[in-house]
Symmetry: C2
Subunit: 431 residues, 2 copies
């Protein structure tokens, strides 16, 4: 077997066979990425990073989410940061990373600049996201548990490969871009809970773009800097299980199992909200709602009586009460100081009981609804449970409709599914 | 004792007491940095990175070594890379890093842009370089031996602080810029021997500038991300010996013992060349020259009969023969394919014998010259041996004279010692 870099590079440079599933899921991730990016365009971190890049007054090479144009590296930095600002983008659980926010800004900036068709953009995006997942698997849990933010680290390699694909790289150039990325991929979980988290995604996108542009200009780095005694894996607490990471590469698309967020709150709350959705709870009839969840979430998102919008996003009791009262948990604006002070909500919240249950996995939750009429209803949801392609399409498009309006969401979806030019899609970022 | 970040930040934001020694050595490092940068301006890596930045066509905020102007982040990327292209810049042995190439590009770009006086620039440079050395000591040998390029990693923190000082940061903002830098400082030794090594220095300079500009715009990161379970130290094989790293901070300037290179070749050869200088060898009288060196260098720079200029830079036998024949080992152009093929050089090279001696330290070398007349002369040199300030000035200015001509070197020195505006110094970068 050839080394990890060469195998990845050959995959990244080679022709790929897509399926209906990969094509639809890639398009859904792009739609989702644009929608959450646009929704986060005015967040303080988004404004700060966009201000910096716009202050450089560079060439109009690529559009920025939220308005403006910038050189490729700057556009990637802004769009990666902005699209992760709400933490509402897609997640891949195999390596615990957010593939779209690192890879799509790189792929789209290059595709816009090089005036490529959307099919090329989507293929580069797919290959880049698959690469980031494979690198993430190769780095393994020890890397993530050890303090590294996989979205940023593994993501940078995916961004580099996606950019390289648009630049027409062969296997040798793909090795070089992976090797050069190895010397600058970075991002610490120590930034979680601060503006540094979304910025990490922007760093990854920008690092990938920079590495690809340099290799295209003839930069000669060490092209085998992922593996080896002093490679990225060994220096960054990687497990380097090459066989597992490469299993089925080119035939099996791990990207297909990417998970989209349908609620604008902590991922730890999503299984419970999905179970609640199945029970179709209506507030007046609630005597008690019992939420059972995996023990690890108890210290993450079980604030009892939060008073701020941010607090609400980390509170089982609050989000379940919001759902039962008919508030839309998909809208970031639903989580507010006002709702936390609402008397109906506070009264219902006191009827929600949260318990840990180590028989559940991290992606599962169990809800029991006791109705005033004595009925007892139960539902369990696992975020890893397969969704049909049409269900997934309905949910992602529904989310996009809410975030940017159905006219625009429909137009983007139509562009992605029927083709066109990348620069027309890029213009949509401005909003 | 307060934590590491706070102590560093307070030092970086506070008033500092400089001495004649710190002021002269800082100015010498700036002169040396400009001279080696200008000499490396046309290297392939310099052209590649400068091309990328100039292709972005951004605002004329700061001058580039070798010509052109660019926004601050881009200028730092280019100037860091270019000034490390020849590997001829200063070195600090306490943490094994090159302080000037990471810190000076950041300090000068900000000082030019903000139209500061040279005294402000030099103070920010000194504080930044001291910070990079302190962070390097804190990360320790385990970090470097583990695969990280301290010039890049520790250097990024120094660049960030230098930029922050020009931006007028208080202690709290300095903590923030250190914390933000912690999520993007990167650079692997796996790039040694490739264009990736100088690029690492550019990355550090640029990362520091970006972090400082973002904090100035209100970015809120985790401001304690160096230390702790998931901080930069713990995630990057750091030793985190806080007491050692902070010893005497503010009173004792570790930067003062920075070492300048006086020969344009591998640092492992320098002690032998300095010993050879003391012996004042003249070729015709040489029967044999015996070089004794620390064992670690035998696998680094003991090529027996190199045929290329690059090979010559890693060959005791070749450089000692060059010196005895009167070639100037301070000039990068002296190391060439042609000289390797010279019959006089080849004949003399065969009379040079290299032996390892573990009684010597890594910075020491011992030379024995056996003359044809039967005389035996010996000399030992230690690169750590103190130099008088005037000797140091003579040597650094002499080197600069050779690299950029004495008119310009004298003009730069005069500017640095008598004052003026940073933007006038920055214009000299263009060459």
């Amino acid at each position: 077997m050839s080394d990890f870099s060469t195998s990845l590079a050959a995959f990244a440079a080679g022709s790929v066979e897509t399926t209906l599933q990969t094509r639809v899921v890639t398009s859904l991730s792009v739609l989702d990425w644009i929608a959450v990016g646009r929704a986060g365009g005015d967040e303080p971190v988004s404004q700060t990073v966009r201000d910096l890049v716009l202050s450089e007054d560079g060439a109009a090479q690529a559009h920025l989410i939220g308005g403006g144009v910038a050189p490729l590296r700057g556009a990637a930095l802004v769009n990666g940061t902005v699209s992760h600002a709400l933490d509402y983008d897609d997640t891949h659980f195999a390596h615990i990373g957010h593939p779209s926010v690192a890879v799509l800004p790189a792929a789209l900036a290059l595709s816009e600049w090089d005036d490529r068709i959307l099919v090329d953009f989507l293929e580069a995006a797919l290959v880049g996201m698959e690469t980031s997942i494979r690198v993430g698997l190769w780095l393994g849990r020890s890397h993530y548990q050890g303090g590294f933010h996989q979205t940023a680290t593994a993501g940078a390699f995916g961004a580099a490969v996606a950019a390289g694909r648009i630049l027409g790289f062969d296997t040798d150039q793909m090795c070089k871009v992976l090797g050069l990325t190895a010397t600058r991929a970075a991002g610490l979980k120590a930034q979680f809970g601060t503006m540094g988290k979304p910025y990490n995604a922007g760093l990854a996108a920008s690092a990938g773009v920079e590495a690809a542009l340099l290799v295209a200009k003839g930069f000669e780095p060490n092209g085998r800097a992922l593996e080896g005694q002093y490679g990225f894996g060994a220096t960054h607490k990687g497990e380097a299980e090459t066989q597992t990471a490469l299993d089925g590469l080119g035939d099996k698309w791990l990207f297909e199992s990417v998970s989209h967020k349908f609620h604008a709150c902590c991922h730890g709350l999503h299984a419970a909200l999905e179970a609640g959705r199945d029970l179709d709870i209506a507030e007046p009839e609630v005597a008690e709602i019992k939420v059972k969840t995996h023990p690890r979430w108890m210290s993450v998102c079980n604030q009892m009586s939060p008073t701020t919008g941010l607090g609400a996003k980390f509170s089982y009791r609050t989000v379940i009460a919001m759902q039962a009262l008919g508030y839309d948990t998909a809208l970031p604006g639903s989580y507010s100081e006002k709702i936390c002070a609402d008397t109906r909500l506070k009264s219902l919240r006191d009827r929600v009981v949260v318990e840990s249950d180590d028989a559940l996995s991290e992606t599962q939750a169990h809800l029991t609804l006791l109705r005033r009429d004595g009925a007892r209803l139960e539902a369990t949801h696992d975020l890893l449970a397969p969704m049909t392609l049409s269900d997934r399409e309905d949910r992602v498009r529904g989310k996009a409709n809410k975030l940017i309006g159905s006219d625009e969401a429909d137009a983007i979806w139509s562009m992605l599914r029927t083709g066109g030019r990348a620069r027309d899609l890029a213009k949509v970022l401005a909003g």
